[in-house]
Symmetry: C2
Subunit: 400 residues, 2 copies
C-alpha cells in the first residue's frame, strides 16, 4: 500500500471538476465527480431526524438504479428545511447534470453543505452545470476538493494504491468539515472513489468497518449535521477478481479503505473550526465497549477539557471529573491516566510529576491521553480538537 | 409569600460569616452558616463517580447525627482527587469548627469548591477557624455569599417569608456557580436555610421537587462537577405545626422552596462563565417527558446554538438540526418553533418572518424559544446561556 497523488481521480475512469456558480462570491462552490463506467455505490447518511433534501433524493436514486455515474455537490447552502421546493431543487440539479453528461437522472447523486433554511439559487446552478463538459478533467480532483469547502481552511485529500490478487487497485478520498461534527454512522461530506471490482455487500461491509475506524471516532463540537453523508463508489476498472465480503483480499481492501477514511478523519479534526491542537483520547481496560466509548466521547466533548487544551493548562482534574460524569460507577481509585505516555494520575490522586514537565506536555500541538480503567479488555479511541475563541467567532456570525 | 432581605440568615436562629483564610489572595474564601438550634438537613449530591472529600465526609456525618448545626465552606480549592489526606483535611475542618462552636464534629457539614487535585492549606484554614466566634453574625449572610464564590462575578442570594398555618415561615438561599454546570440531581453549591418545622421525609420530598424545578433545568457548559451539593436545613424555630409530606401546608412550603431554588438557578445562569444572554428553551407537545427533556437539553448544550445566541445570529436552522439530532424519530414537519412568541418555523420550513424582526429577536438579552412537537402533552424547560470568547478565556487558564 502506498500513497499516490490526486485523490478522487486517482483511480481509473474517474474525472472531476470544481467551479463557481455564484452561491459563494468568488470561490468554487459547485463540484462534480464522474465515473465513465457504471459504479456501485455504498452510501451512509446522518441519523439526524432532520435530513437535507439531497439525502431524501439520493435514497430514491440509490433504490432506483443499481449503479451511479456522477456525484454533483454544492457548498455554502445545505438545501435543508427548504420544504418541497428544496426537494425539487435537488431534483433539478440531478436532472440538469444527467442531461449534460448524457446519463440517466437516477445515475446522479446530489450533495449539499452550508447554511440551513435558504433556497438554492437553482437557476444559477443550472446555468453553471451547462459548463460541466468543458471543465471535467482527469486532473480535476483538486478543484473538486476546493468546491466542497465551507469554513474549512484547507482541502482534505488522499489517495493510495495497493495490489489485490496481482492487480493494482487505487482508492482516493476527499472530505470537508469542520463544524457540526459529531458522528453517529457518518459525518460531514466524504467521497471515496475506487477502481476495485467488489460486490455490493462487500463494499457496504468495508464502508461500515471504515466508518467505525474514522468518522465515528471524531468530534469537533458534539453537534450533528442534517447533511452528513459518505459515498464510496467503485467502478471495477482495476479488473481484479471480484472482492467478496470475506477472505484475505477483502481484508486487504477493507484495511486500505479504513486507512483512507481514518486519514481524512484526522485531517478533518486538525482543521476543526478554530482548532489549534489535535488530541487523541484512548480509553482502555474497560469492562465493556460502551463504557470505553462513553468515557472517551464525554471527555472529547467536554468544554472544560477543550478550553484547557486550548490554553495548555494542565488542569487534569477535568479529565477525571469528565470520566466520572460519563460513568457513575467508575472506580476512580483503579484509574490510571497517562499524558504523552507519562503516568500523571493513579490511585485516586496525582502522581508526583514535575510541574514544568506537566505544563510542557499540555503545550504540545498533538497530545495523546490514555485512560486505563484496569477493569477489562475493551477500548475506544476518539480524536478531538481544542476549543478556541476563534470557534466562537466563526459560529457567532455564520449567517449574518 | 414575599421577598425579604438577607438570604441564609433571614430565618430565625441562623447566623453566618465569610472571611479570608489565605486560599485566595485577598477575597473571602471561608464561610460558615450556623444554626443555634439543631436543624434537620436534606442533602443532595452530584452523581459523578468522582466525588470530593467533603461529600464523602458529609455522607458519614449525616448518617451519624440526626441533625446538624453548622456548614463550613471553602472556595478556590475543591479538595477533590486528593486521596486519603484530602479526606483528613475535610475532617480537620469539621473538627476544628466543632471545637470553636462547642458542638459535635458530626453536627458539622463541610463543602469545598474550586480547583481539583490540590491539597487544602489546612493549617491556614484551622487558624482562620479560630476567628469564627468573632465574626459570626445575624447579618453575616452577605459575607458568606461572597466567601463561596469562584469565577462568579456576583453573589446569588434570596429570601422569602410566607404564612404556614398562621405562623410566619422564612426560607433563605445562597448559591455559587458558574462553570461545570450541568446537573443530574444537583449542581454547584447551594445552601438553603429555613425556620420551618417540617419532618425529615417532607423536607427531602420538597427538596426533590425543588431540584426538578431549578437545578435540573439549567446548563452552562454540560460539564458535571464532582463537588455539586445542595443542603436544605430546617431548625423549626417558626413553631408552626410540623409539615408532613402531603396536604395544603406541604404544598405551600414546597412551592415556596421551589421558588427560592428556581430564582437561584436563574441567577446562576445569568452569571454563567462569560454569559451575556439568558435563554429559556421550552419543549412542549411531546409524547414523553424523556423526549421533551432530551430535546431541550441537547439544544441548551449545543455549541453551535450557544455561539449563535452570543452573536445574535438568527441561524434558527441550528435549533431544528439540534432537535433532530436529539430524537431521530422526531417529525420535523409537525414541529412549530416560536421565538419571543412569534412563529418562525412550521411545516418543515421557515415562516415568512421579516429578516430585521428575526434579527432583533435574537439580539435581546433574554430570549425564550418554544418548540411545539404537537405529538402529546408532555413538556420540559431548560435555562441556558450563550457561549462567548470570555468563557474560553476563563477556562483556558483556570489553573495557570
Amino acid at each position: 500500500m502506498q500513497k499516490i497523488v490526486s485523490s478522487v481521480t486517482a483511480a481509473r475512469g474517474f474525472k472531476a471538476l470544481g467551479i463557481n456558480c455564484g452561491i459563494k462570491k468568488r470561490n468554487k462552490d459547485l463540484g462534480l465527480i464522474f465515473s465513465e463506467y457504471p459504479a456501485i455505490c455504498a452510501a451512509f447518511f446522518t441519523t439526524n431526524a432532520l435530513t437535507s433534501s439531497h439525502i431524501q433524493l439520493d435514497k430514491i436514486h440509490l433504490k432506483k438504479s443499481p449503479h451511479i455515474k456522477a456525484i454533483v455537490v454544492n457548498s455554502a447552502n445545505a438545501n435543508c428545511c427548504t420544504g418541497k421546493m428544496g426537494f425539487y431543487d435537488s431534483l433539478s440539479m440531478a436532472k440538469e447534470t444527467a442531461k449534460v453528461l448524457k446519463i440517466k437522472p437516477e445515475e446522479v447523486i446530489v450533495a449539499s453543505t452550508g447554511i440551513i433554511g435558504q433556497r438554492l439559487p437553482i437557476e444559477k446552478i443550472k446555468k453553471a452545470i451547462l459548463k460541466f463538459p468543458l471543465f471535467l478533467h482527469k486532473r480535476g480532483a483538486g478543484d473538486f476538493a476546493h468546491s466542497i469547502l465551507t469554513t474549512d481552511t484547507r482541502t482534505k485529500e488522499i489517495a493510495i494504491s495497493l495490489k489485490i490478487a496481482g492487480k493494482t487497485v487505487k482508492i482516493g478520498g476527499v472530505a470537508k468539515g469542520v463544524g457540526m461534527v459529531n458522528p453517529l454512522m457518518a459525518t460531514t461530506l466524504m467521497f471515496i472513489t475506487t477502481d476495485a471490482a467488489i460486490n455490493r455487500v462487500a463494499l457496504k461491509k468495508a464502508g461500515k468497518l471504515a466508518i467505525a475506524k474514522s468518522l465515528n471516532m471524531i468530534t469537533v463540537d458534539g453537534d450533528m449535521s442534517p447533511n452528513d453523508s459518505l459515498f464510496i463508489i467503485a467502478n471495477s476498472l482495476a479488473q481484479n477478481k471480484i472482492i467478496k465480503p470475506q477472505g484475505a483480499e477483502f481484508k486487504k481492501f477493507s484495511d486500505a479503505l479504513s486507512y483512507v477514511c481514518n486519514q481524512l478523519a484526522k485531517l478533518l479534526i486538525k482543521d476543526g473550526e478554530g482548532a489549534t491542537k489535535f488530541v487523541v483520547i484512548k480509553v482502555k481496560g474497560a469492562a465493556f465497549q460502551k463504557q470505553a466509548r462513553k468515557i472517551a466521547s464525554t471527555i472529547a466533548n467536554s468544554l472544560l477539557f477543550k478550553t484547557m487544551i486550548y490554553g495548555g493548562d494542565p488542569n487534569w482534574g477535568r479529565i477525571v471529573s469528565s470520566a466520572g460524569s460519563a460513568d457513575k460507577n467508575l472506580n476512580i481509585k483503579k484509574l490510571d491516566i497517562y499524558v504523552g505516555h507519562k503516568k500523571i494520575f493513579s490511585g485516586g490522586k496525582p502522581t508526583k510529576t514535575d510541574k514544568r514537565i506537566l505544563r510542557k506536555m499540555f503545550l504540545k500541538r498533538e497530545i495523546e491521553i490514555i485512560l486505563d480503567l484496569k477493569s477489562g479488555r475493551q477500548q475506544a479511541v476518539k480524536y478531538t480538537c481544542d476549543l478556541s475563541p476563534e470557534y466562537v467567532r466563526i459560529n457567532s456570525k455564520y449567517r449574518i
